[in-house]
Amino acid sequence: MQTVILISQVLMGLALILAFVRVVRGPSLPDRVVALELFASIVVGMVGLYAIATGVSSFLDAAIVIALMGFLAAIGFARFLERGGPRDD
């Protein structure tokens, strides 16, 4: 069981690195916002895996809060982008 958890954690860490590469490379701001939303999803999954690994169920509350923050950040960024009008970055 420990090995399966470890493999899953390694895979999700790899996913986090790939998403971070997209955040750095862009090329436009909406791409970065999509990558940040993917970040939030991956972190929720990692918190769930950590809750299984340690056996502490209180981590799920943190996962709920992270999912909520990711959603609100996506909505806020989208509003910010739409107010700004066309951009060419």
Partner: protein, 134 residues
């Protein structure tokens, strides 16, 4: 048995999340990237939360895990729609191999008006109303 199901759920969730990350690296433009991340990442998180619910097996934890699942199912399409809309409006470039963009000939980005393509001469003209902002 439960251990086997749990391990399968965790592994497949992690693999789906990794697929989403590979998609966001490899695909060429904003909309195709969103097509990869929104669905695959949501499915990955849902599978991992099912594994959490199986692992603990208490009423409170299962309820919280299902709350996360329902929350993700409800918010992922909304967030994807809002970001895709904003990305289209700020003029993010589509992939050069895009076959069809049906919004471009029918949509006016300045007035935010959408045409159906079935207008007659009379109702194609913009009729200003009293509460319009200029």
């Amino acid at each position: 048995m439960i251990d086997f199901i749990k391990g399968t759920l965790m592994l497949s969730g992690a693999i789906f999340t990794l697929l989403a990350a590979i998609g966001i690296i490899r695909l060429p433009d904003l909309l195709t990237r969103m097509h990869a991340t929104t669905k695959a990442a949501a499915l990955g998180v849902i599978l991992i939360m099912l594994a959490v619910a199986l692992h603990f097996g208490e009423v409170g934890v299962v309820a919280r895990a299902f709350a996360i699942i329902v929350f993700i199912i409800m918010t992922a399409p909304v967030a994807a729609h809002v970001i895709g809309r904003a990305g289209y409006f700020v003029g993010s470039k589509l992939w050069s191999g895009t076959v069809k963009d049906e919004l471009r000939p029918n949509y006016d980005p300045l007035t935010h008006e959408l045409k159906s393509g079935l207008e007659t001469e009379a109702n194609a003209v913009h009729q200003p109303r009293e509460n319009d902002t200029p």
